[in-house]
């Protein structure tokens, strides 16, 4: 039974209003922008977003009014620093007020790991003495020298990967951030993938698989689905897009125009990449860096 579905169907089915959604689990790379944009087009509401550093995807979803709550260590624009929509929402409640559960990268990683391990919390030595502790109910003193980080269990984790088959087997390589933890902690996993390949390709290298395939509920073929963030072996980071976003979204009207042009008026990812124009093919790597061969016999 194939799990391969169009991205809109996967979002409709597994990301209802009010869902807790983990995104951007590799930090600055393989961010599932296409999936986030589809949530905007479907006018999703009251989402809880979970992720260490989402770069600008969280900022976009916040600006589009999709978000009720953020569980994160950092929300902004990695190229430029601040995220304008995050500031407007958190400072002025525009377009709506959001609740922020503030973490450090390690505390959010450990919260997801607790979820993955099926335990209510994990102990840590980080954040002792930080004001983050008093403002985050998921962080509590445990004993001298230790805090407890409560488990974080998203309803759905969305991952962008280099290749997958239609059964949910996938390969991911590069920096993995909290990908494994978020994928194991969630009730469901949606994969968006640069390539759909035969099952044999994936099974030829089971150490390259980030997650047990039975936890994957939907696989979507979305080439370019992480742009403007990079995908190892496929395309580099589009720094220009980050800078342009920062400039364009200084006020709400600017963001609204950006969203209309870049998301709402775009039917799908192919249409989006057409709008990126000449920058898109220029992001392809010019050289090959093949991994050394490995034999599983």
């Amino acid at each position: 039974m194939s799990k391969l579905v169009p991205l809109p169907d996967a979002i409709t089915r597994f990301v209802p209003d009010g869902a807790s959604v983990a995104l951007g689990t590799s930090l600055e790379s393989v961010i599932p922008f296409a999936a986030g944009h589809e949530m905007v087009r479907q006018n999703r509401r009251d989402l809880e977003l979970v992720g260490p550093i989402s770069d600008i995807l969280f900022d976009q979803l916040i600006g589009a009014g999709c978000v009720r709550r953020v569980v994160a260590a950092w929300v902004g624009n990695v190229s430029a620093g601040l995220g304008h929509n995050y500031r407007r929402a958190a400072e002025q409640g525009v377009p709506r007020a959001i609740d922020v559960e503030e973490h450090s990268n390690l505390s959010i990683g450990l919260g997801l790991l607790a979820g993955a391990l099926g335990v209510p919390y994990l102990p840590t030595r980080t954040l002792l003495g930080s004001d983050l502790v008093s403002r985050n109910p998921r962080l509590e003193p445990l004993e001298p020298g230790l805090l407890r980080v409560g488990a974080i269990e998203p309803d759905v984790t969305i991952l962008h990967v280099q290749r997958a088959d239609d059964a949910g087997h996938a390969h991911a390589w590069g920096n993995l951030g909290v990908t494994k933890e978020a994928g194991l902690a969630a009730e469901s996993v949606i994969l968006t993938s640069e390539e759909i390949v035969p099952t044999d390709v994936i099974l030829s290298d089971p150490n390259r698989v980030p997650l047990p395939p039975h936890r994957v509920r939907a696989v979507c073929h979305v080439p370019g689905g992480a742009h403007p963030s990079p995908v190892q072996g496929h395309y580099g980071r589009d720094h220009v897009a980050y800078a342009a976003y920062h400039r364009a979204t200084r006020d709400q009207a600017g963001f609204d125009a950006w969203l209309r042009e870049g998301v709402l008026d775009v039917p799908d990812r192919a249409g989006y990449l057409d709008k990126v124009g000449e920058r898109w093919p220029a992001l392809r790597p010019l050289v090959r860096c093949p991994a050394a061969p490995v034999d599983y016999a």
Binding site: I53, G76, H103, N105, G109, L128, D131, G174, N175, G233
Partner: protein, 257 residues
């Protein structure tokens, strides 16, 4: 050969000062922007065996490639020593493997506490900042901490509005009372000088001022009465070689111009 102050930017001098904090063979939690350039500079000069950790799940012992904008740019993965997850890399930090960590910040206070969360009253902030990222972890768990920051009275404050990344808290013994097992700020490198911390009082003092300014100007740009010891001297300027290496690593001057 040292060069004239007119020939480099404050950011370039900050990179040089930061690189000098790295000792050969050390394990360094690098982070992004100027520290990444400092790590590359140190590896090409006095610390070729330094090892860089990145919280997205990378460890590098090879030189980082030039022109990186983020730690997740594909060239930073290519040739890494270990590509893994955030928790695995931060486990090294929590275990005590990390000699030196670098972080940035919006505000720092006289005990080296750093704020990257919010400005104004925590319940009704006037400015919402992006947050900790890995900063609080690095401040809590590395053996030495170096932060980098623009020098202005609104940034170097008597007391920060919110302690994201703990320094020495309110003074000696504070870290131990919190249960922190190691660490504390070693230096704050700013656009105007280098602050270090008194072994007895844990308070920041001006260790050096950059060649294009004076100790008095630095004190005037600081939000508390900054201690200036007799040994305070100009920050050693970059050498021509160091400047060349920085400009090779940041060819567009994205971070240093």
């Amino acid at each position: 050969m040292a060069v004239n102050a007119a020939d480099y930017t404050p950011q370039e001098l900050m990179v040089v000062a930061a690189a000098r904090e790295i000792r050969d063979g050390e394990v360094v939690f690098v982070g992004m922007r100027l520290p990444l350039l400092a790590f590359a500079l140190a590896k090409r000069t006095h610390a070729p065996s330094a090892i860089g950790l990145f919280e997205n799940g990378l460890v590098r012992d090879q030189l980082p490639p030039p022109g990186l904008y983020t730690m997740g740019d594909p060239p930073n993965v290519t040739g890494a020593s270990w590509a893994t997850g955030l928790v695995e890399v931060m486990a090294l930090l929590q275990r005590g493997d990390v000699d030196l960590g670098f972080i940035g910040g919006a505000e720092v206070d006289r005990f080296g506490n750093i704020n990257t969360n919010l400005i104004g009253p925590p319940e009704r902030p006037t400015v919402r900042l992006p947050g900790s990222g890995g900063g609080a972890d690095i401040a809590c768990l590395s053996k030495r901490l170096v932060s980098l920051m623009e020098h202005a009275p609104r940034r170097l404050r008597e007391r920060v509005d919110f302690v994201t990344s703990p320094g020495y808290g309110d003074g000696p013994d504070w870290r131990r009372r919190q249960g922190l097992v190691r660490g504390g700020p070693s230096a704050v490198i700013t656009t105007l000088g280098v602050l270090r911390f008194d072994d007895i009082t844990s308070e920041a003092y001006l260790a050096s001022y950059h060649p294009f300014t004076t100790a008095e100007e630095v004190a005037a740009a600081t939000g508390w009465p900054l201690s200036i010891p007799a040994c305070c001297a100009p920050t050693p300027p970059p050498t021509a070689d160091e400047l060349r290496l920085i400009r090779e690593a940041d060819p567009d001057g994205f971070w240093t111009r």
